[in-house]
């Protein structure tokens, strides 16, 4: 499955994926991955079921290999693959291969629409969750959390009496996500919602004022835990310690069949803990020393050499951590509020 084995055409899945994300900033990674795969499918004249599946598998592998943090997008690719498998390999009387292919190729936009609609549905739940006098803590960067808060703010304006405040945890790094946060904050402030911004180091300090926390997720994993931007885990722990509800806001297409047993089992490489001496980073064979468990995970999942194609994530703002399910009060999806325990069943259902 090496890169060189080549896709038939010049189609570059990674570029497509990046382009899609760049073109539409509302797009989530799983959906972008699905879109990219569909484009790949459209660009490639695969005519049999097995060829198609092969192609999708290849493209997926490429994508996962090249994108440093593949957790979120793999939710999309997995979903797509599973959809194809379940539909194409069935002894079909009606679900004819061409039909499905056409359906997919023609309806790329539809999926994007659905994803956005899902987000809107979730946002609509905001007003149920946010009550008068609440102080909401969020770590930003998540579009869906942003829209949830905005919708709550709007409904609060309509209802008049509901006032809430927001504490936004922002990281000092200037990144795209922070721009997102900035936009959200501005939008909220415009709607007369008071927003405080704090560095992630101040969460423990102010957790006693907080009534509930909302965080986004890159992926919701098998056991109901989440993989999310670095710092989410500690917010979860602090919220738990203070007895505050900790809600994850995520579209259900971010559910991913991954089961991390700890932070180092995410299947991606992150150089967050970087030991250094005056001679520089202790890195040569250091990665194994520093995060022993990680290597196996990477090897198993990706089948790729460690420091080759795929650069390890070292910038803290790109890094993710894993928040275990016992810290999560509920996962707000477009289909309602799920307990973490319900995630597994959902994933089981699409796989079997």
């Amino acid at each position: 499955m090496a890169r060189s084995s080549g896709t038939p055409s010049d189609f570059n899945i990674v570029q497509t994926y990046r382009r899609l994300l760049a073109e539409d900033e509302e797009l989530t990674m799983p959906v972008a991955a699905i879109e990219a795969l569909i484009e790949g499918l459209a660009n490639t004249p695969a005519s049999t079921v097995s060829e198609t599946l092969d192609l999708v598998q290849k493209l997926t592998a490429q994508l996962k290999q090249r994108i440093p943090n593949s957790i979120s997008l793999s939710a999309g690719t997995d979903l797509f693959q599973q959809y194809l498998i379940s539909n194409l390999q069935r002894p079909s009387d009606r679900g004819d291969f061409d039909q499905i292919r056409t359906h997919l190729v023609q309806n790329g936009k539809l999926f994007v629409e659905r994803a956005k609609a899902a987000r809107e549905t979730i946002a609509g739940f905001g007003r149920h969750f946010i009550r008068d006098g609440d102080v909401v803590l969020t770590n930003g960067g998540s579009r869906v959390v942003g829209s949830l808060l905005r919708s709550a703010a709007e409904s609060s304006n309509n209802r008049g009496s509901i006032r809430f405040k927001v504490i936004y945890v922002i990281s000092p790094n200037k990144t795209a996500e922070e721009d997102e946060s900035t936009a959200n904050i501005a939008a909220l402030r415009e709607r007369d919602i008071p927003v405080a911004t704090i560095p992630s180091t101040a969460v423990a300090y102010c957790i006693d004022q907080v009534t509930q926390c909302f965080v986004g997720a890159e992926g919701v994993v098998e056991n109901g835990g989440i993989v999310s931007r670095m710092g989410t885990y500690q917010i979860g722990m602090l919220a738990k310690a203070a007895g505050r509800p900790f809600y994850v806001v995520s579209e259900s297409h971010k559910f991913v069949r991954l089961y991390p047993i700890n932070q180092h089992d995410l299947g991606i490489e992150q150089d967050v803990v970087d030991f250094k001496t005056s001679k520089g980073s202790v890195k040569d064979d250091g990665a194994a020393d520093v995060r022993g468990g990680d290597d196996e995970g990477v090897a198993d999942v990706e089948g790729t050499e460690r420091s080759g194609t795929k650069g390890a994530i070292s910038a803290p703002h790109e890094a993710v951590d894993y928040t275990p399910p016992h810290l999560i009060s509920g996962i707000i999806t477009e289909s309602g509020v799920l307990l973490p325990s319900a995630v597994s069943e959902e994933l089981i259902k699409i796989w079997f």
Partner: protein
């Protein structure tokens, strides 16, 4: 007792009597006002009254269009719920009756569709049938998945309890036959708790609107009722829908009747010799549970009295068992002997002593007022102190709850669910100055977080709080969760 100017104190018994004679509309009014004035309260009585009323409503309806029936029930449900939003059992029963109707309708459709007009099995909401009418699946390419989804449904609804199965064997049979008859039709079980939606993650990639309105993307927030309606117009009155629905309601009533005995069946699994059990307030379910265990084992019960709202009932329960002194409720409430008569040592304590004694207690047994979809519960005030103290001492908390207390409502705001009672129970009104100047607050219920509960024992068996979402999904139709929503 406010406004009890009727010759007889209004109660469940009087309501049930009047139900036989008065008109449907006045019965609805009566129940709504009884609920409003708390003359019928506690989950069981509310559930019974609602089920009986709905039986009457369905009986009086001339059913041409099942959708009309559904609308009618929803409407009645809305009125009852509005009268007393905190008695969740009312809404639960309404939803389950709606489920019965939908099921009957779908079954008929199913029979129709598959051409096999099998004997119409009496159904109850416990038997799960397709969420969506079959039509939505004729094209949908998800049948294999649906097969898969049907599997957990068959296994899950009664987690590991062959002993205490569904209320009647018929239901299980209905289950089995329903599944067997139309294997391809059983859809994936949906799980969500507040919004109508599709179930499977794959629906994301599903075919667009096409022929199946039922498979619309989850974003649509209107309940999917059109399929029922439109399809029903095609085949009217094949089976006697009314009789079927009434049968279903009867099953529901049967379930309410046997629910305590079913829960009590597992008593010996939970109570062992020489244990010290702590319980709280007066609950028929708990008393029966303990009494069942008492037949075989000797243990000690420590009973907190739940002052100031329920202590009198608690005392009565401890002293006299289940015989109500008024003699009024005998028809509805079974009689049972007090535990002391069974040789069980009962130690009555004020609620304050709960923490002090918790270190010597082996198990806490609670009866909730309502169980919410996320596994948390509402119970008589004092329950949260007990549950917290139990957690502090690592004592397991077992909650006994009939499925009818299980509400699909997600507790967005637990504060809102808590009812405040008569402050006169705390401070007698004679103490005018005190009442005037001091704000006397008397919460009737406590909200107990799911993480404080070790185990739920329902009439379907035991389950962890984390699994309740599934039982909720098994009993309520997504489209009925929000009774207030305008039907499509």
């Amino acid at each position: 007792m406010p406004a009890a100017t009727v010759g007889q104190t209004p109660s469940l018994t009087t309501f049930l009597k009047s139900l036989k004679t008065s008109s449907v509309e006045s019965s609805i009014e009566l129940l709504a006002s009884l609920l409003k004035r708390r003359q019928i309260k506690n989950s069981r009585q509310c559930a019974l009254a609602t089920a009986q009323l709905l039986r009457r409503v369905v009986g009086a309806e001339r059913i041409k269009d099942p959708q009309k029936l559904i609308d009618r029930i929803r409407d009645v449900g809305r009125r009852l719920v509005a009268a007393q939003p905190r008695e969740m059992a009312v809404g639960n029963i309404v939803r389950r009756v709606l489920g019965v109707v939908r099921e009957v309708v779908e079954e008929q459709l199913g029979d129709d569709g598959s051409g096999s007009s099998g004997p119409s099995t009496p159904t109850s909401p416990t038997s799960r049938a397709p969420k969506r009418p079959m039509i939505s699946h004729t094209f949908s390419s998800f049948t294999p998945l649906s097969h898969g989804a049907a599997m957990p449904y068959d296994m899950h609804p009664r987690p590991g309890t062959p002993g205490s199965s569904s209320p009647s064997g018929v239901d299980r049979l209905a289950d089995a036959t329903a599944a067997a008859r139309r294997p391809g039709l059983a859809t994936s079980a949906s799980y969500a708790s507040i919004a109508p939606t599709n179930a499977s993650l794959l629906s994301f990639l599903e075919h667009p609107l096409g022929r199946s309105p039922g498979a619309t993307p989850p974003a649509t927030s209107s309940p999917r009722m059109t399929p029922v309606q439109s399809s029903m117009e095609l085949n009217k009155e094949k089976i006697d829908i009314k009789a079927e629905v009434i049968d279903g309601i009867k099953d529901l009533l049967d379930e309410l009747e046997v629910v305590d005995s079913q829960i009590a069946e597992s008593a010996l699994d939970h109570i062992h010799s020489n244990e010290t059990i702590l319980t709280h307030t007066s609950s028929q379910t708990v008393q029966k549970f303990l009494a069942t265990a008492a037949r075989k084992r000797k243990f000690t019960v420590i009973h907190a009295e739940a002052y100031p709202n329920d202590h009198e009932a608690t005392h009565a329960t401890i002293l006299n068992g289940g015989k109500k002194s008024t003699g009024d409720d005998d028809e509805v409430d079974d009689r049972w002997k007090p535990l002391t008569a069974l040789g069980i040592t009962v130690i009555m304590i004020p609620d304050t002593a709960v923490f002090a004694l918790m270190s010597r207690i082996n198990k806490v047994i609670l009866a909730p007022h309502t169980v919410l979809a996320n596994g948390s519960l509402l119970a008589a005030a004092g329950a949260s102190t007990i549950a917290l103290a139990a957690q502090a001492h690592r004592v397991p908390v077992v909650v006994l709850s009939g499925v009818y207390k299980l509400s699909p409502v997600y507790p967005f705001d637990t504060q809102e669910l808590i009812e405040y009672g008569d402050p006169g129970k705390v401070v007698p009104f004679e103490e005018g100055e005190f009442m005037d100047k001091v704000d006397v607050v008397n919460p009737v219920y406590d909200w107990v977080d799911a993480e404080l509960v070790s185990l739920y024992v329902t009439n379907l068996g035991g389950c962890a709080p984390s699994f309740l979402y599934r039982i909720v999904a098994d009993h309520y139709r997504m489209e009925d969760v929000d009774l207030g929503a305008k039907s499509g």
